[in-house]
Amino acid sequence: MTDAVVFDVQRFSLHDGPGIRTTVFLKGCPMFCRWCQNPEGKDDGIRLRLFDNLCARCGACVAVCPHGALSRGGRGLPEVEADLCRTCGVCVERCDRGALALDGMRLTVEALLDDVLRDREFFETSGGGVTFSGGEPLAQAEFVAEAVQRLRRENVHTAVETSLAVPWENILRVLPHIGLFLVDLKTADLDRHRELTGVDGREARANFARLAGALSGTGRLVVRFTLVPGISGEGEVGDMARFVASVDPALELELMNFNPLAASKYRRLGVEDYEFADCVSGFTEEEMERFNAAVREARAKAACANVH
């Protein structure tokens, strides 16, 4: 039975495809985007996490750990010896306050289906379904492929939110089964791609072109671009719009505003050097309107160029 590491199953998602959806967040991502909004999804293993604001410093977890992986550290808080921790969850179960948690769970396709099909009623009335997100869900393409085939048999619409920074075979594996691809393009500037995301952008770009070709005219592809304060400007937005139009003029580019709530996730994970920790708001409505105008203008020009 295929399984995967999942860090969240979020019901009543309204922004990850059509209708009311359940979004499944898979752990593990080949990219390291500086602004990453789901830091808990970066790494593909399961780790023990401590929420120190909930911890009563009672030491019960240390006493109960069967592997000697926990010890009392500074300020009485438990410390984890990562090499010794087998993420068995005994301490999590013991902690009365819920201060310890595993940041992911290993789920079989079967178990995942039982969970997501609970909201079938809502999928049916709204034309919604299940979206796989992450992390990079297509890094675990085998699992996603099996899950979406099963969901198709249940008549549930499926979508995947991906950067496409995976081998083409992974994409090919799911291509026939997924109802909607929500592709996140990271930057229009290939030279900066590695600086911003930690990986070379050529693979994702090539995959995008092939995918757009394969899905041309089907309406099964939506391109999204997340705007990041201090990084994204109108010029780059225009470039991105031109690039997308050059691949397929019929494709729309959807701009996503930066979500400042991610900062609190980093704090919870104990990451102190998040570059956008002080960024308390995304772009204003007026700024978003300017960005959208830049997209419209670039597309109009591209359309003209095509005509000539």
Binding site: R11, L14, H15, A56, D96, D119, E121, T125, L261
Partner: protein, 792 residues
């Protein structure tokens, strides 16, 4: 013009300035306590001491109709009120006198629903009113004859209807509009001529007496409007029109839409004068006003713009009558929930879709005015038009808390289960907040009592002894320390419920009997079938249906408490039962770890965990089964409701620490079907699935589910469509009721900080909408604390 075109037109309508002026004038006017009617009634009673009670009551109402000072705002299109000022707190000594004596000095300063008192009124009350009624009012007689029982069970059961006449009725407004007081009086005279029963003859005499006075009341308004028209040339036309309407309605049924609305409003004014009770509800006004509307539109006599203005004029009027409760009751029912409930959409008596242009027009009134009254309810069913569902979603998104949503697919079968005939069940309406009723033929007595199951569970765990003060109030059924199995807890819980249940029924029977003796209601009886046909007063069982509703409080807490006990104490045994009992007795002092375990290590209702949700269902069903075996004093059935309105705060204040980790005196879950706030963590779909596991048929008296959404869900057309789909799912899940607050937490905090800037902010408290800034501070906090849904 086709119906679709007309609905397109309605979507574009704007509010006329006149309506804004009428609304502002009303909101700005201060609220006063009013003794005027009490003085008239007292004088009539004194003068007619030897008359039977029904005759005295009828004479008193007739005198009030002929003598009360009346007033008209010069710009009004619809006229009438029971006081010359608006939102007066009418003293009604027939029903409640002692509480006013106790509280009259604090009325202007009490935290909830304050009223100003005019200089001299305190003395006048104590001199002219109190001495006569002391010991005679409903409140005093109930205290004397049933006070022992009521007090003995008070911590577990709140017996209601002890100091006011019976409301929560949906009168036969259609018949009233068709016949008017003159037509009904003819019917009563004919019936009298045909009877030889002196009791019935007396009933008909009383009916004629009040109906004739009702016609005179209308004529007085006609005269006043006409005299004002002479002085106010700027308003001459509308005042002359009002005068003509009133004059006509005194003699015959309504012919035009304008007349029909005026007739409807007079009906509710007079019902309030007779009974001063909460929740006389117009019900399905979009249905019974439709023939007049359609006829006037077709003939060109009326435009939709004019129709909207008239409806909005009625909307303003619905806010001009409030009901003054005692301080205790005001904390349970905060913010003047007078309960003018109007239900739009739904099915016809034959099961077809009933949505019409007026359904949309009423939604538009709500969107424009966002006033607390009327309490607008939308009935949805599987066949509701998509456009109507979307329009409901859009108006809900505006944030006024309305319309609340009712589900035909579960409610109609639930009512049929109570013996209601098919057509009557499909024609159901809503009274007050969320109480379900048939229209025009039911004395539903929907707020007979509230039974606090959580308190009964407290007693079950502590051998019948109250955790708050150590007093024994229930039978000795053992204590948690001695219970070896989960089943032992259930047995003790059952025994405590049974003990208080029997005493509650005893008290309810007594209360109904005293109502019948002291407050027969001739006028109300003329508009509730089959009283007039049979010559039997409505309080004596003259209605076609005679239900009594009792509320089961509070399923969510019971599920959470028993789930924690079952899982942690009896299955996993990670908590010692003696230690837990001790911790409960100490309100968890020194046992915070234990409390956290109860909170975090046992699943909670509202998260789509089936076995937990089914605990809620099990105890609701147990209680409801017991009720349904009984017959009430009027010969009808008891049934159960699952709502608290705002009573979860005071009822929680009466319950000690509980095994779900709740500390002593903290509020219970709000609503009735809602999860304990902050404990439903899986979003709205999971909550709805949990709620759907509590059998909706056991909520035939009404259920209440609160959900709070952030405005951003409604920011786009797509968001509105998704929300509408959520409503469709709610219908499929067969949940009776849901209502929505759409507001930002920041906005609520700001309103708390700067009430003057947020006077217009309305918010769902429970089954009704109130001005947020008029709510007591702790209730405001409680609303802010409720979970809100919507992604960030």
């Amino acid at each position: 013009m086709t119906e679709e075109c007309l609905i397109d037109d309605i979507a574009r309508l704007t509010m006329r300035p006149r309506i804004g002026r009428l609304r502002d004038a009303m909101v700005e006017e201060p609220r006063y306590m009013s003794l005027e009617q009490a003085l008239i009634v007292t004088e009539v009673y004194k003068r007619n001491e030897s008359d039977p009670v029904p005759v005295k009551r009828a004479k008193a109402l007739a005198a009030a109709l002929r003598r009360l000072e009346i007033a008209i705002h010069p710009e009004e299109l619809l006229v009438g009120n029971r006081t010359a000022g608006v939102r007066g707190g009418v003293v009604f000594p027939e029903a409640g006198i002692s509480w006013i004596d106790r509280e009259i000095e604090t009325l202007p300063t009490r935290p909830q629903d304050a009223f100003s008192v005019k200089p001299g009124d305190v003395g006048l009350f104590r001199r002219e009113i109190l001495p006569y009624w002391k010991g005679k009012s409903l409140e005093d007689v109930i205290r004397r004859e049933a006070g022992g029982t009521v007090d003995a069970i008070a911590r577990v059961v709140k017996v209601n209807q002890k100091d006011h006449a019976q409301g929560h009725i949906c009168p036969d407004a259609a018949k009233w509009i068709r016949l008017g007081p003159a037509g009904l009086a003819r019917e009563a005279r004919a019936a009298k001529a045909a009877t030889r029963d002196p009791a019935k003859a007396q009933f008909y005499d009383c009916a004629v007496m009040v109906l004739e006075a009702a016609s005179d009341f209308m004529r007085r308004y006609a005269d006043l409007a006409l005299s004002m028209a002479a002085e106010r040339p700027d308003c001459r036309e509308s005042l002359q029109k009002a005068a003509a309407n009133c004059r006509a309605l005194a003699e015959r049924g309504a012919e035009t839409f304008h007349e029909a609305l005026q007739a409807m409003w007079f009906l509710f004014v007079i019902l309030h004068m007779e009974s001063n009770a909460s929740s006389f509800s117009p019900g399905r006004a979009d249905q019974y006003l439709y023939p007049h509307f359609a006829r006037d539109i077709a003939s060109g006599r009326l435009t939709v713009d004019d129709a909207l203005e008239l409806c909005e004029a009625a909307w303003v009027k619905f806010n001009q009558i409030v009901y003054m409760r005692n301080a205790h009751s005001a904390s349970f029912f905060a913010g003047f929930p007078i309960g003018f409930n109007i239900a739009v959409g739904g099915q016809t008596r034959d099961g077809l879709d009933a949505t019409n242009e007026l359904s949309y027009l009423f939604l538009k009134c709500q969107e424009h005015l966002a006033l607390p009254q009327p309490n607008l309810s939308a009935r949805l069913h599987a066949g509701s038009p998509e456009r109507f569902v979307l329009e409901c979603a859009r108006v809900i998104g505006k944030g006024g808390g309305m319309p609340q949503v009712f589900n035909d697919e579960s409610i109609i079968p639930a009512l049929k289960r109570q013996g209601v005939e098919d057509g009557d069940a499909r024609d159901y309406a809503v009274v007050g907040c969320v109480e379900l009723t048939t229209q025009g033929n039911n004395l539903g007595w929907s707020d007979a009592a509230m039974f606090n199951l959580v308190k009964a569970l407290e007693l079950a765990l502590n051998d019948g002894v109250c955790l708050l003060d150590g007093e024994r109030i229930g039978p000795a059924t053992g204590s948690l320390g001695a219970f070896e199995r989960y089943e032992d807890v259930e047995a003790a819980f059952t025994a405590q419920i049974d003990y208080f249940f029997d005493r509650m029924i005893e008290a309810c029977v007594k209360v109904e009997e005293i109502h019948q003796r002291l407050l027969p209601s001739a006028f109300l009886s003329t508009v509730v079938d089959d009283c007039l046909r049979d010559g039997v007063d409505v309080t004596a069982g003259g209605a076609k249906y005679n239900l009594s509703g009792i509320q089961v409080i509070q399923a969510a807490n019971i599920a959470d408490c028993l789930a924690a006990l079952r899982k942690l104490v009896f299955e996993k045994k990670t908590i010692d039962r003696r230690e837990l009992l001790e911790a409960l007795r100490r309100d968890f002092a020194g046992s915070e770890g234990l409390r956290q375990r109860l909170l975090n290590k046992a699943p909670k209702y509202g998260n789509d965990v089936e076995w937990v949700d089914l605990i809620a269902n099990k105890w609701v069903t147990y209680f409801s089964d017991k009720l349904e075996r009984l017959v009430n004093y009027r010969g009808g059935r008891y049934h159960s409701g699952l709502y608290t309105v705002s009573a979860h705060v005071p009822m929680g204040a009466n319950v000690g620490a509980t095994p779900d980790g709740r500390k002593t005196r903290e509020p219970l879950a709000d609503g009735g079907m809602s999860a304990v706030y902050g404990r439903d963590l899986k979003g709205p779909t999971a909550l709805l699935r949990s709620v759907s596991r509590v059998d909706s048929a056991r909520g035939s008296n009404g259920t209440l589910l609160n959900m709070k959404f952030l405005p951003r869900v409604f920011a786009t057309e797509e968001g509105i469509r998704k929300f509408a789909a959520l409503l469709r799912s709610f219908v499929k899940l067969r949940i009776n009721h849901v209502q929505f607050n759409v507001v930002d937490r920041e906005e609520l905090l700001a309103a708390q900080e700067h009430p003057d800037r947020y006077r217009g902010l309305t918010i769902r408290v429970a089954g009704y909408t109130a001005y947020f800034t008029e709510l007591a501070h702790d209730l405001q906090n409680e609303i802010i604390a409720r979970t809100s849904h919507g992604e960030l």
